[in-house]
């Protein structure tokens, strides 16, 4: 009872910490780690639910959910990293070709996207 409660409470705490970090820290990697910590928090809650008291086998459903959730989280992180990589490449390319400041690019996520017109080839 208490153990599960503590475990679940810790999960909520992790979620809140991750959320805070996601909102406050600008670099993408930190945001991604923060999101993963939030996910870990939710998984903690699921695992806490699965506990059905000492002696009884745990509820298998939350375990299955957590496993699925981890797979989803991994692929999401991978996609985010791929997109970020693309941005970084772009940034280094444009830094080589023109000598514009990359300060705006490194803060990647606050780029104003309407500033330019996209032309289709």
């Amino acid at each position: 009872m208490t153990a599960a409660f503590l475990y679940g409470g810790a999960g909520i705490l992790l979620f809140a910490l991750g959320l805070w970090s996601l909102l406050v820290h600008e670099p993408l990697l930190r945001k991604l780690i923060a999101l993963n910590i939030m996910g870990a928090g939710v998984f903690h809650v699921f695992i806490a639910v699965a506990h059905r008291g000492d002696g009884t086998p745990p509820d298998p459903v939350p375990h299955a959910l957590v496993l699925t959730g981890i797979v989803v989280a991994v692929s999401a992180t991978a996609l985010a990293l791929a997109l970020h990589n693309r941005l970084e490449q772009d940034a280094s390319d444009s830094a080589q070709s023109t000598s514009t400041s990359t300060a705006g690019l490194l803060s990647g996520l606050s780029i104003s996207p309407q500033s330019d017109i996209i032309r289709h080839e």
Binding site: L65, V72, S75, P113
Partner: protein
């Protein structure tokens, strides 16, 4: 057989996605075949729901709660029919749009995956599968949106991805709390069990807030305009017309079905007020937008607002035919917007391709050299404004009557202002088409791309407006009370 058909709208596009990945050489052909089959299966399923009752099935040979539950009722069938027809239109358009470009290679698998997830959201019968489908939807949507590879598109879609992840996490936490309290995630079981409690209230708030991020409800819409405006045209159409609807569908499902006895007028009022903010701010930004696709994106923000305006009305209206009308009008509004916005974005993409840009003030010649495309924009625009005989006209009529009947006349001011602003931004575009440049000899210049846009726009006006009755019967309601 009827119940087996339930998985086809999910399985067929998934199969298509695998095949287009494996055989990139003939991806467009495979893609169109998969799209056609998916659309047919979706429509067939809609027909099943229309003819009979709600359907459901459990996959994987496991019983609930471990098996994957799939179910279709009137609400999911309506949206499934929308995704089928709009998806088919987008697929046909995409063949021409991506012809001769290697971006199409990535487009087809991702688009079919997105369609899988979309139909999955509409058909999933338990909250966790909904999470998986939502996540898949978010991932494929962000990847598709970044397809142009331009810096703006990638940055915008990276932001979209993170926002979507945050929304999913919030939703998942809500799901965890629900499981903690009730021990099941099956929607139909839960709707019987849920009682007012702090845990249930917290979880509905977490789920709603997470989904509101994905549905781009004002002021959480910040990610939408850059992401939608910078994507390739067929992707913009899919994102704006379909993907945001998935999140909205889920909120509607949660509020009217699952948590119906938890939600309160105060909470519904908050959603309505945010919707009102979306209508006013989105329409205003659309009016000020310099680019056609940005205008369309902000118009989506505003249209999502109309959908959320239904919540306080639904909450205040006692059960009965008048409430059924409101519910059906809400679905009609969502479906109409799906068709209209897809048509609008596809047409805008053609204008952009033709003119080389989409700055509204300089579109005169392009608009006149493509009469069919301009006509599509006019048709879709009239559905966005809510002019008769479009579906949104009927929806707005029911909505305004509901506002009077529940004594919430203030929404009326919002609806009227939003309508005027919408008319202003649509006619701002259309007035470019009345210049003295010559029109080409033929109405349709590029049939493969123009016809889907035209048909989608036309359906939003003619099909959904003149015969709105089927939506009512699909939802199992008697027919509108006039």
């Amino acid at each position: 057989m009827t119940t087996d058909s339930l998985i086809l709208p999910i399985a067929l596009p998934l199969l298509g996605a695998l095949l287009t990945t494996a055989l990139p050489r003939i991806a467009p052909l495979l893609g169109v075949i998969a799209a056609t089959l998916t659309a047919l299966s979706g429509l067939w399923l809609t027909g099943q729901v229309w003819g009979g009752d709600a359907l459901n099935i459990v996959l994987g040979g496991w019983g609930l709660p471990l098996g994957i539950g799939v179910a279709a009722d009137g609400l999911s069938a309506s949206l499934l029919a929308m995704s089928s027809l709009v998806g088919l239109g987008i697929s046909v358009y995409a063949v021409g749009y991506f012809a001769g470009s290697d971006r199409g290679l990535h487009f087809w698998p991702l688009w079919l995956l997105l369609w899988t997830a979309l139909n999955g959201v509409f058909l999933a019968a338990d909250l966790f599968n909904l999470y998986v489908m939502l996540e898949l939807l978010g991932l494929s949507a962000a990847a598709l949106g970044a397809l142009t590879g331009s810096r703006e598109a990638v940055a915008a879609n990276l932001r979209y991805l993170l926002v979507g992840l945050l929304g999913s996490m919030s939703y998942l936490l809500g799901v965890a709390l629900i499981y903690t309290a009730y021990g099941t995630l099956d929607i139909s079981l839960l709707s019987e069990r849920i009682e007012p409690s702090a845990l249930a209230a917290t979880s509905v708030v977490l789920m709603t807030a997470g989904l509101a991020l994905k549905a781009a409800l004002f002021p959480l819409h910040f990610w939408l305009p850059p992401a939608h405006a910078n994507a390739p045209a067929p992707v913009s159409a899919a994102l704006s017309a379909l993907v945001v609807k998935a999140a909205f569908y889920l909120i509607l499902r949660l509020w009217t079905d699952l948590f119906a006895n938890i939600t309160t007028t105060g909470a519904a009022f908050i959603l309505g007020a945010l919707g009102a903010g979306a209508i006013l701010w989105g329409s205003w930004r659309a009016l000020r937008a310099e680019r056609l696709k940005l205008l369309a994106a902000y118009s989506t923000v505003a249209q999502i607002g109309y959908l959320f305006l239904f919540f306080p009305l639904l909450q205040a209206m006692p059960p009965g035919p008048a409430r059924d009308d409101l519910f059906a009008a809400c679905v009609l509004m969502a479906v109409t917007h799906g068709f209209a916005k897809a048509g609008f974005f596809l047409a805008a993409g053609l204008v952009q391709k033709n003119a080389g840009h989409d700055r509204i003030d300089e579109l005169g010649g392009a608009a006149q050299s493509m009469p069919a495309t301009t006509f599509s924009i006019a048709l879709a625009g009239s559905a966005l404004i809510g002019l008769p005989p479009s579906g949104s006209f009927i929806a707005k009529w029911v909505m305004m009557r509901g506002a009077f009947e529940t004594g919430q006349w203030w929404w009326l001011i919002v609806i009227v202002t939003g309508t005027l602003l919408a008319a202003a931004y649509i006619f701002r575009v259309l007035s470019r088409a009345f210049g003295q440049e010559p029109t080409p000899r033929c109405f349709v210049t590029d049939a493969r791309a123009e016809i889907p846009a035209l048909l989608l726009a036309l359906s939003s006006v003619a099909l959904l407006g003149l015969a709105a009755g089927p939506i009512w019967s699909l939802l199992g309601f008697e027919g509108v009370q006039t």
